[in-house]
């Protein structure tokens, strides 16, 4: 049924050998020197038409730096970025005519009303007044923002403001949407509004989406493919299901102690070095039979009195993220 060469295999955004190093800054009085940082290191990516492609990675992994290079906001040291056949490194100004970008900051729009922010953005995207207004009305309605259209962004809640900025990004249709953590601070209703708006554009126009996210749950549910970024390198790139297969042989065990872990129980003390501790919570990733043994240990005998709660779960993208990205720092078991 599917054609041999499916349209979605068409590469919308091709990145090759992209590298960016922030220069060292010499220290002055009061400000310590910062060493050179290789924020993006030889990155290669292909984003295909119509997919929602995610960038996932710990803080400082280089996600924003990468996205800023793709949107023409920052010149890479070396490497190439091609979006829909246009060389963005040589012609950064073309990016603005191909993609819509939702950055993490809203300062340019903060003092405008929701309605004017959307309309002005549309006009600056090249729409005439009538088109800008009708698209503005349609988008605000679609996202459920009509009731607060007359209020300035500054006076809105964090989630509402984010949604208003997202609305502005949608006025004046573009084949590629680049969204840097679009749903930060949003409640489930607003999130659903965002994802259904994205889905509609995907179905109607084949819109491609590049999404930066920290939220692994969101990553699992909305992304078609995800690249895991760590210290400027892409350490994995696959579908969420494909990535999860890498840790499929494991089970995640979470133990929550009442006050503190009963380290006087030898089995518990033995587990400690394999656990990621955060307060009273221990997280372990174990082979299934090991997990069963651990559960047996902590639910019977002396340890049980100290146990507040425990869960046993199949691995999520979070485990992949930790295993691949945060592993070294958090002392988790590497796969």
């Amino acid at each position: 049924m599917a054609p041999a060469v499916r349209p979605r295999d068409e590469v919308v955004c091709a990145v090759r050998g992209l590298t960016k190093t922030y220069p060292a800054v010499r220290g002055r009085r009061g400000t310590p020197a910062t060493p050179e940082v290789r924020a993006i290191d030889d990155v290669r990516l292909d984003i295909r038409r119509g997919e929602i492609f995610g960038l996932l990675g710990p803080n400082g992994a280089g996600k924003s730096t990468l996205v800023r290079q793709l949107t023409g906001l920052m010149r890479p040291d070396t490497g190439s970025v091609e979006i829909l056949g246009h060389d963005i490194v040589r012609h950064p100004e073309r990016a603005a005519r191909i993609l819509a970008y939702l950055g993490q900051e809203s300062t340019a729009l903060d003092e405008l009303t929701v309605s004017l922010a959307a309309e002005t953005t549309g006009r600056l995207r090249g729409l005439d007044v009538r088109r800008a207004r009708s698209e503005r009305d349609a988008v605000l309605d679609e996202l459920g923002l009509t009731a607060i259209a007359g209020r300035p962004l500054k006076k809105l809640s964090g989630g509402q403001r984010r949604l208003a900025c997202f609305a502005a990004a949608l006025v004046g249709e573009r084949p590629l949407l680049v969204l840097d953590e679009p749903t930060t601070g949003m409640d489930p209703v607003a999130r659903r509004a965002v994802w259904s708006a994205v889905d509609r554009r995907r179905a109607e126009h084949g819109t491609t989406v590049l999404l930066v996210t920290h939220n692994v749950i969101e990553a699992e549910t909305v992304l078609d493919r995800v690249a895991v970024l760590d210290q400027g390198r892409i350490i994995a790139c696959d579908t969420p299901a494909g990535l999860k297969e890498q840790v499929a042989g494991e089970v995640r065990v979470e133990l929550v102690w009442r006050e503190r872990a009963p380290l006087d129980v030898p089995e518990v003390a033995g587990l400690r070095e394999r656990a990621a501790e955060s307060g009273r919570r221990w997280t372990l990733r174990l082979a299934p039979e090991e997990a069963r043994a651990v559960v047996a240990t902590v639910t019977g005998g002396a340890a049980f009195a100290a146990l507040d709660d425990f869960t046993l779960a199949t691995p999520s993208l979070e485990d992949v993220y930790l295993a691949l990205g945060g592993a070294a720092r958090q002392g988790l078991v590497r796969t």
Binding site: H86, Q104, A108, E111, L112, R225
Partner: protein, 286 residues
């Protein structure tokens, strides 16, 4: 393979995209896109300038920019203070013209430098830089709006000053030329400072210094200044706005001189706005 048109591709897309999940671990597709896609429209200079201008004007309504009132109070205060020192005649004309143009310096130079400095530091320029809008539209729209903000304060100060010093208001209509031209010169300088300063504190500092210079060198009558200070005064673009306005208070103003002064403002405006536009381009793509 026959190349398909974009429209056909879009229609096929509808049936293929939503439900499908890609097979895991598919290797990257290497073939590049064959033809560059059509680019979206560019926003044209005039319409986008108007859009930026409107948005900036509405900011004043939303933010109420309390400093707009401070600008007026400051100038009115200076007038009242100088009333005790200055008798009248040429000196009074300088004081009134200087105080009126000081409002322009405060808002267009100082506040605009702050605005652009903060916008740049907080990443707000990214918003404009990822829209296909000509840099000049962003700079001119903002500069125009800030120049407009100065209108009420400047008019109030000039009228109050005329009443206080007994000067004729006959030729105050010349403000209609002084405000936009001095506004262009000072807003251009303010925008350039804000966009060129490496840190926002420096932008604020430069704006403040510019305003202080306009205050000290513009309000005080030049006849009492020592030579080097008078030279500095000649370098300051606001001076020409002050001179143009001051000349019109006398009997039978020499309109040729007024025109020359205003032409200097216009020239500085053109140059400084061009510099600001260049600075914007530089700040937008790092």
């Amino acid at each position: 393979m026959v190349l398909e048109s974009g429209r056909e591709r879009e229609q096929r897309q509808v049936s293929v995209v939503p439900a499908e999940v890609l097979s895991g671990g598919a290797p990257a597709v290497d073939e590049p896109v064959r033809r560059p896609a059509e680019l979206g429209p560019r926003a044209r200079l005039w319409p986008s300038l108007v859009a930026v201008y409107r948005a900036q004007l509405s900011r004043a309504r939303v933010a109420r920019i309390p400093l707009l009132f401070v600008a007026t109070f400051q100038s009115v205060g200076i007038l009242v203070m100088m009333r005790g020192v200055v008798e009248g005649g040429r000196e009074a004309e300088s004081v009134v013209a200087g105080s009126a143009v000081l409002v322009v310096a405060f808002v267009a130079l100082n506040l605009l430098a702050q605005y652009f400095g903060q916008l740049r530091a907080s990443g707000g320029l990214d918003h404009y830089a990822t829209l296909p809008v000509p840099p000049a539209a962003v700079v001119l729209g903002a500069a125009g709006a800030y120049a407009s903000f100065t209108v009420p304060g400047t008019v109030v100060t000039a009228v109050f000053g005329c009443a206080l010093f007994g000067l004729p208001v006959t030729h105050l209509w010349v403000l209609a030329a002084v405000i936009p031209l001095a506004g262009a010169a000072l807003a251009g300088l303010g925008a350039a400072c804000g966009l060129l300063a490496p840190r926002p504190e420096l932008a604020t500092l430069l704006g403040q210094l510019g305003m202080s210079a306009a205050l000290l060198l513009g309000v005080l009558p030049p006849d009492r200044m020592p030579e080097p200070v008078r030279f500095l005064r000649d370098l300051l673009p606001s001076t020409y706005g002050v001179e143009a306005l001051a000349r019109t208070f006398g009997k039978g103003p020499d309109w040729a001189y007024v025109g020359v002064d205003l032409a200097v403002c216009a020239a500085v405006g053109v140059v400084s706005l061009a510099v600001a536009t260049w600075a914007y381009r530089r700040a937008a793509v790092r």
